[in-house]
Symmetry: D2
Subunit: 282 residues, 4 copies
C-alpha cells in the first residue's frame, strides 16, 4: 500500500512540483492534485516531462477531485462537464487513474429526489471518466454532527454506499475508504475483510481525538497514530483483502496548523511509520 | 387509443376468459391480468388457443402486475424473481408487452437508502423483462393523504418519476400515467404535451369527486366523466403527443360497488363513450 | 414531419446563417450543422441571439455530425471526446437535440473486434451526449458496392442496426433512417410500420436512379421524386407510426451539381412538394 | 488460490456428493457443478444440509455452467432464461458465486451480427445472475484449429475478451482464464501481471503436449506439470496480482482416460502438488 499525501495537514507546500518533491523527500509515493492544476502543469512542461518528473521522484498522482458540481442544479452540473473532460484528459496524461468525491450525510433537498439526481449525475461522471481509464471514488462521511447538519438524512454508511455504487451501476465506481468515517460509523476490521479489494479505489487514513464517537467532528482530525482509531487494524484489514493502492492522510483541522510545512511533513512521515509498523507493514 | 378495463370497478366477472368476453361485449379492446393467471390459462389451453381467443374477441392483455416485491427486504425481492420470469414468459406467450407497478408516495424506510434499493431493484426487474419484449410501467401516485401516510416522503410527481426512470436507466421503462394522479398533482394539459409518447407505457383514466384536491382519497374514485377531472383535456393531450396505447379505468372504491357486473360494465362503456366524445375521439 | 436540408445537394450557400436564411426562404424548417460551426456562431453572436435568429426564421438545427472518430484507434477516439463535449454544449445552446453518424457496411478490421470496439465507443458517445438532452442517430448504409469495398462485412441492415442499438444499450440512441438505404436494402413500407416512432431519431429522403439495386451507388443520388424509390410509401410509413421529426435530403453526387444554389434550392423545394403531396401530407 | 476440479479428467466419480467427497479426499477445495444438478441436490436434501455438507468437506462449488444457449436463435436463448434463474437460485443456495461459459473462436454466423447478439445476450445473462450475487466468467479459447473450424473468425485473445467484457458493460462479468488458452495465444507472465485480480473470476490450469503451438488441439490436454506450459509462471502471475479464487483443472481428451477415477484423482493431486510447488505456493 502506497503512502500518500493530500494538501490537508502539511501547510502550504507551494506548486504541484514542489508538493511532489516534498512528498518524495519524506517517503511518500503519492499525492492528490487538482485537475486544472495538472492541466496547467502539462500545458507548461509537456506531458512527457510531467510523467518523467513524477517517475524520477517515485511519486504518482493518486487522485484528482471531482470538479463537476453534482449536488445542486442540473444547469450547474451540466455546465461543469466540459471542465470534467479537461480534468480527465490531464489526469490521464499524468498517469492518474482516480477521481474522487465525498458525500455529505445530510441534505436540504428532498432525500428521494436528491438520491435520484445524484445517482444519475454520478453515473454520468463515471461514464465520462471511463474512456480515460479513470475510476470514480466515492467517500462516505461518518461524523454524527453532519448527519443532522442539513434537513434530511442522506447516505453515510459503508453498506449503504456499496449499495449506492451498485445502483449507480458503472464498472469504474468504487469506494474512497477513510479510516475516520470507518471509525465514526463504528465499524470494525470484520467489516473491511468482507469487502473485495476491487471495491476500494482509494483509502484515507486519519486519526480522531478521544471523545465520545457522536462528538467527533469532521474537521478536527489528528495525524495517524496520534489518536484513538485502530489504524493498525484498519491497515491490516486492507492488506488482508489484497488492497494495494494509495493510503493518504487528509488532516482537516478547525484552524491552520501552526508548525511549518517541513515540520508537518516530518510529523506525517513519522505518523505513517508508526501505524505501518503497528500493522506489520514494511 | 385503446379502451381498457382493469378488474377494479366491474365487480366479479369471473375467469380471465370471462373477463375478456365481457370486455369485448362492452366495447373494450384491452384488459389487465395477473402473470400467474395467464400462466395457468396457457397451461390449460395452450398458447396458440389463448392468442386465438384474444384475437377473436379483439382484446389484448394490456399489462400484468409486477409480482416481484421491490419495497421490502432484499431476500423477499430476490425470492420473487423466479416468479417474475414465469410471468414474463406467460405474458409474452399471450402477446402482452407491459408489466406495471405503482409507487407509494411515502415510506417508513429511510428515503435515501430506499431510493437506492428501489432504483436497483426496478432496474433488475426491467432487465429481466427486456428479453421477453416487455416494458416496465411505473405509476406515480398523487393523492395527498398517502404522502404523509408513512414516515418519509418518497416520489409522487410526474417530473420526479421521469427523472427516476432516467436514473433507473433501462430502455424499456416508462410511465403508467393515471389521470387521477395527474389531477392530484395539479398538473395540466401543458404538462402532458411536454412528454414524448414513447415515455408513456400505459394510461389509466379515473375521475375524482368534487372535493379540495388535498382531500381526494386514492381509493375513492369515480367512473370517467362522473367527476371533476378534465378527462377530455387528458385524452386530448395524450392524443396530441401521439400516444396510441391502452387507456384503462381502475375504479378503486372504499367498499364494493353495489351494482351488478353487467351494470358496471355498461356504466364503464358509457363513461368511456362520454369522455372520448368530449375529447373529440372516435 | 419537418422538411429539412443538409448541405449536400444545394451548392455552396455560405455561412450557417446564410444556410438558415436560404432554407427558410425555400420552405424548409430544419438544417444540419457542424458542432464547431455552431460553437463559433454562438461565440460570435451569443446563444440567445442564435436561438432568436433560428426562431425568427422558423428553422431548427436538425442535427450535428458526430465528430468523435469511433472507427480507428482508441487513442484517436479518446482524443476527440473533448471536442464532442464542446459540440454537445453548442448544440444544446442552439436547441439542437440530435447528433448523427453513419455506419460503413464493411471494414478492414476484424469484424468481431471492430464490433466490440464500435459498440463501446458509440455507447460512450451516447453517454456524453445524454446530459445535454441530445440523442445519437445511427445511420445504416445500404448500397451494395460498399458492402465489399473493405475486407469484412459489417452492418448494413435495418434489423441488424436495431439489434446493435439494443446492444449499445443507452436510452438516447436510435436510427437515422434514410430512404436510400431502405431502398438498397430492398425493404418495404411494412418494414417501417413495424417500427415505433421513438426508434427513429432522424430521417433522410433521397432518390435513386433506375438501375438494378445492386448497382446503385451511394454517391449517385437523385432529388426526391426524380428517381424510382417509393418515397410516398416511405413518408406514409413514417407518418403512420407517428414520426414527427425532421426529414432531410442529402444529395450525394459524384461531382458537384452544375446548377446555382438558388436553382438547387428551388429544385429541392419542388422535390419535397412533389413527394409530400404524393404521400398525402400537407 | 484454491485447488479445484472439474469432472473432465477424473473418470466417472458419480453423484455431486460423491464428487465433493472425492475432491476433499484428494486435497481439493472446489468442484464445478451443473445448475440443475445443484437444484436436484437441494430439492432432495435441503439447502442447509447441502451447505453443511460442503462446509464439512471443505469444498466449495466453484462454478455452474451457463445453461442459456446464447450462440443460436433468439427463441432458443429466451426459452432458456427460466432455467437460468433456477440455476442461479440453486447456485446461490449452495454458496456458489460463479457461472461460466466459453467462447468458440470462430462462427458460421456473420461475425458482426453475431457479436451484436452475443453482446446483448451475455449482458442479459449477467443481469439475471447479478441479484443472486453471481458473477459471469467468460473463457476465451485459444487453440488454432478452432479459429478456422467455422466460417468467420470470432474472439480468441485475452485483450479482445477484456474489451468485449467492457462492451458487455456489467459489473459482474470477468474472465475465466485457462492456462491452455493463455499458452495457445502465446502470452507470457507479463500479460497476466498487467491484469487486475478483479478481472479474473475463475482460473483453469491444464497442460499441453510438446507440439508446435499451431498444432495443439483443444481436446488433447495433459495434466498440470505433464506438458510444456510454464504453469509455475502462470500461477506466480496470478498470485502476484492477488488472485485468490479457484484454479481448476479440466482435462479434455480425445477419448476417455483408461485409469480408474481413484488413479486419476491421485494423478490430479500430484499434478497440482508439482506445479504449486514449482510456483512457490504451499
Amino acid at each position: 500500500m502506497i503512502k500518500g499525501l493530500t494538501r490537508a495537514g502539511i501547510g502550504n507546500v507551494g506548486s504541484i512540483e514542489a508538493f511532489v518533491k516534498a512528498a518524495a523527500a519524506h517517503g511518500f509515493g503519492a499525492v492528490s492534485a487538482g485537475g486544472q492544476e495538472l492541466e496547467e502543469w502539462i500545458a507548461s512542461q509537456g506531458a512527457s516531462a510531467v510523467r518523467a518528473f513524477l517517475q524520477e521522484h517515485g511519486v504518482q498522482i493518486a487522485t484528482i477531485g471531482l470538479s463537476a458540481q453534482w449536488r445542486t442544479t442540473e444547469e450547474e452540473f451540466v455546465s461543469g462537464l466540459g471542465r470534467l473532460i479537461q480534468d480527465a484528459e490531464a489526469a490521464a496524461a499524468a498517469g492518474c487513474t482516480v477521481c474522487s468525491t465525498y458525500v455529505l450525510p445530510s441534505t436540504d433537498h428532498d432525500a428521494a429526489t436528491f438520491t435520484v439526481q445524484a445517482t444519475r449525475r454520478l453515473r454520468t461522471c463515471a461514464q465520462l471518466l471511463a474512456p480515460y481509464g479513470i475510476r470514480l471514488a466515492i467517500e462516505f462521511v461518518g461524523p454524527h454532527h453532519l448527519r443532522t447538519r442539513w434537513k434530511h438524512p442522506f447516505i453515510w454508511g459503508l453498506q449503504e454506499t456499496v449499495d449506492w455504487i451498485d445502483a449507480i451501476g458503472e464498472r469504474n465506481v468504487g469506494l474512497l475508504f477513510d479510516s475516520y468515517h470507518w471509525y465514526t460509523n463504528e465499524l470494525g476490521v470484520e467489516d473491511i475483510v468482507r469487502l473485495d479489494a476491487s471495491q476500494i479505489v482509494l483509502a484515507h487514513i486519519n486519526d480522531a481525538p478521544d471523545l465520545p464517537i457522536a462528538e467527533v467532528l469532521d474537521n478536527d482530525r489528528l495525524f495517524p497514530g496520534e489518536g484513538v482509531i485502530d489504524l493498525a487494524g484498519f491497515l491490516r484489514g486492507l492488506k488482508q483483502i489484497g488492497y494495494s493502492g494509495v493510503v493518504a492522510q487528509e488532516i482537516l483541522t478547525p484552524k491552520p496548523l501552526e508548525q511549518s510545512s517541513e515540520q508537518l511533513l516530518q510529523r506525517s512521515r513519522e505518523a505513517f511509520r508508526k501505524v505501518y509498523t503497528a500493522a506489520g507493514l514494511q
